[in-house]
Amino acid sequence: MSIKGTLLPFSALKFLGKKPHTVRYPYQKKKTAERYRGFHYNDIEECIGCGTCATICQNEAIDMIQIEGIEAKKGDSGLRPRVDNGRCCWCGLCVEMCPTGSLSLTDQYLHTSSDPESYLLVPGVDHPEFAEHLSFVKDDEVRLLDLARVPMKELDPQERVKSFAEVVVGYMQEEARREATRCIDCGICVTACPDHMHIPEYIGAIADADDELALKYIYDNNPMPEMCGKVCTRQCETVCAIGHLGEPIAIRWLKRYATEQFPDPAAVLNPTIAPANGKKVGIVGAGPAGLSAGYYLALRGFDVTIYEALPKAGGMTFAGIPKYRFPMDSLDKQIGYMEKIGVKIKYNTRVGKDITFQEIRKNNDATFIGIGFHVPYKLGISGEDLQNSIQAIEFLRTINLGGNVYVGKKAVVIGGGNVAIDAARVARRLGAEVTILYRRRVQDMPADWEEIEAAEDEGVEIIPQGIPLEIIGEDGKVKAVKYGMAEMVPDPRGGRPRPKLIEGNEHIMETDTIIGAIGQEADYSFLPEDLKEELKIERGRVVVNEFKQTSIPDVFAGGDNVNRTMDAISAIADGVKAVEGITHYLMDE
């Protein structure tokens, strides 16, 4: 060792007693990189609790939990994600997969604690101030979700008005598979469906090319799925998670696809029918509610007879829905399958005329009333009783039964619901120029928007805010309609604006036919007087409990004359629920 090396450490002694010289730089928070991935933030109002983030997380770092102040509702599970930041790797996959775009990552990264629980954060609830620090947000350029729906082909509007050929073509197999793979399996749609169908399951089966499995899932709680696949009101699609940023999954069309693959459902489903249990159930009305109740009761071994006034079953799905939307062979297939498994249907049997309700009640252990709404509201204006002033319900029923109805060269339909649109489009197909007169605005029309658009594509004119005042006749026949214009008056309670006639602003439109389509109600005339008093009916609807049991214990009811939504799927749901109620009533001790 050299002497220099030995003495060098002692050179430090020159600093002995000297004050250290410290250079202080200004404190600077280190700026994070663009699209930095720090802690999560979730807009809990935009979030629908679909759980896609939890599903996609590769580290199982996200749980869906109940949050105070957030309730489950249609289209929202009521749950919100909680992130375990001890497991999270901040890959951002949850953000990319979030269908609503509510979830983001922020530029916030500082957290030091010895308490492991403090690393469990509910984004948006914990640290709401992170909303000002969004950094890694959903990238519109790079999409992991497929937001565009596989389009459905339809017949050309100008051609399709010449016939009653089915308008919607349907998905080919490849189209269905592609559409099915868009589904993220969140299940938000299930709660919105009145019947709570197994939607993610059957869509998943279609995506996996297992159409038979899809059919089995579908038939588990819906015996008229082909009908639903063509004309359902699809409340499921209105809440579809993908629909928030893109087009909702075509749940209806996929159901249609699955059901159309099999000409004979029995061959695939091969249902197990329970042995006869000795109990009999009489059902009034072979509409969706009655048929659904009948089908599932028959599977459980009940002896079921349905009494139907018309020559064919289906209720409004037969009598009211035009064949270009729902072809007869499609309905026949489903009814045929039900009859095959043992549901007995007595056609051309009007309860109250051909058989009394008392007799049905006497001969059965329980009864189900599914009579629907078939009695039209009157227009209540002069000239309503002229020849060629008709009701849409009767018009559609006659056409569907194969009859002829005169519409002439010009028809005016009064109303704005699906029945009005159906009547208008049928009248077009019979060769008439058609105008719909509706007393509110187009956006207020209760009809399905797709149907409204289809009607307009087919040349149906819509006059909004038009109130019919008088039907003018000549030689006892309709000649014209006088109508006034309405101004929309806001509802102080925030409801729909009210149409108020503007006095003096009247018009006359020549027409050959007037078709009234302003609503329907039930016909309870078949009930004996004593039962009419005993059966609780409010606002024209039979009051039932959650199992569709009426105020008379052995009488159940469902369908339009019971529920609030008045569509086929709700009627099916009522029938399915009534099966539980009837089973409980008849079979439990």
Partner: protein
């Protein structure tokens, strides 16, 4: 026994007592009892378009609270209207089957296009006449007097086209030009006018600071308003006149007949005293006629009208003048 018969709207009445549109006349049972007690005709309780709208609003609100979508009740007011009309038609039919006295239907609409349809249905049901109850409080600052009055003529024209049974019009005294207005109305072809309507009136509860209803029933002093105008108009118009409001006893009845009324409509007096009170009117009328040697009502009807009285100016006097202080006038 004097002859109490009279004619009103071309209908032969056994006496001048008509029971006015009210809750007394909204059931067949009540109408039977009124006839039994001597009523010569009844005006059925008005069917109110406004009531139908309010009923619809109430049902829709309740339905919404129960979770229904309002779109499900898109045209529900049409159904309520039909239900109410059907019930009214049944009332007319039931009353016509049950009694022999004329049954007059009454409608109150505020939108012009409903009247003819209602009128036609009531005629078809068998109503002997139709009383139109037309009034809109003139609070719309943009409408002129002429605009408000034109509504009456429009409605009358529309209704007359639809029906052939007699039409009467019940009007209010709210008019800046009442005399000429009444003359003009009488020239439309209607068969009668009822002077005057009695309205719901507001009052204030000074403890709760809420608007409440004031007296629903009329008082006997209320009769003088119609008395004045019956007297002034009875010889100036060709249609019949019925006096309404405040006719609470036999003397008020006689006064209105002297002024020129063909009949009177009573309601409040029966609410207070019962249906049997009709007999008091008839007894008083009969006794007075015998005392004054009148055999028929036509012998004295209008005897004290403005054109026939000795002092016609008295009917047009409105101010309380100096000599009233001496209680001479």
């Amino acid at each position: 026994m004097a002859d109490l018969t009279t004619k009103y709207l071309g209908l032969s009445l056994k006496n001048p007592i008509i029971i006015g549109s009210s809750g007394l006349t909204d059931s067949v049972e009540d109408i039977i009892e009124l006839e039994r007690n001597g009523a010569a005709a009844v005006v059925l309780k008005s069917i109110f378009e406004e009531e139908i709208l309010m009923e619809t609003e109430h049902i829709i609100q309740q339905a919404q609270e129960d979770g229904y979508d309002e779109k499900a009740f898109d045209y529900y007011d049409y159904k309520i209207k039909d239900n109410n009309l059907s019930a009214y038609v049944n009332l007319i039919k039931g009353a016509k089957k049950a009694v022999h006295i004329p049954v007059i239907a009454s409608i109150n609409c505020h939108s012009g296009h409903e009247w003819p349809y209602y009128a036609k249905r009531f005629e078809e049901a068998g109503a002997d006449a139709l009383e139109l109850n037309i009034f809109t409080l003139p609070t719309n600052m943009k409408r002129t007097c002429q605009d408000n009055e034109q509504v009456y003529f429009d409605i009358i024209e529309k209704v007359k086209k639809e029906i052939s049974i007699p039409i009467s019009l019940k009007i209010s005294f709210y008019s800046a030009n009442l005399g000429p207005f009444i003359v003009k109305l009488s020239e439309t072809g209607i068969r009668g006018l009822v002077l005057f309507n009695r309205f719901w009136s507001p009052d204030i509860d000074i403890e709760t600071l809420k608007i409440i209803s004031s007296n629903v029933l009329s008082r006997s002093e209320d009769f003088s308003l119609s008395l004045r105008w019956i007297a002034i108009m009875s010889e100036r118009i060709s249609c019949d006149l019925a006096a309404s409001t405040g006719v609470h006893d036999g003397s008020a009845l006689i006064k209105q007949l002297l002024a020129g009324a063909n009949a009177v409509q009573i309601v409040s007096a029966l609410y207070r005293n019962g249906k049997g009170y009709i007999q008091n009117y008839l007894h008083d009328l009969n006794t007075w006629m015998e005392r004054h040697d009148f055999v028929t009502i036509d012998q004295f009807r209008g005897k004290m009208s403005q054109s026939k009285t000795e002092d016609p100016a008295m009917y047009e006097r409105v101010q309380f003048m100096r000599y009233f202080r001496g209680h001479n006038a």
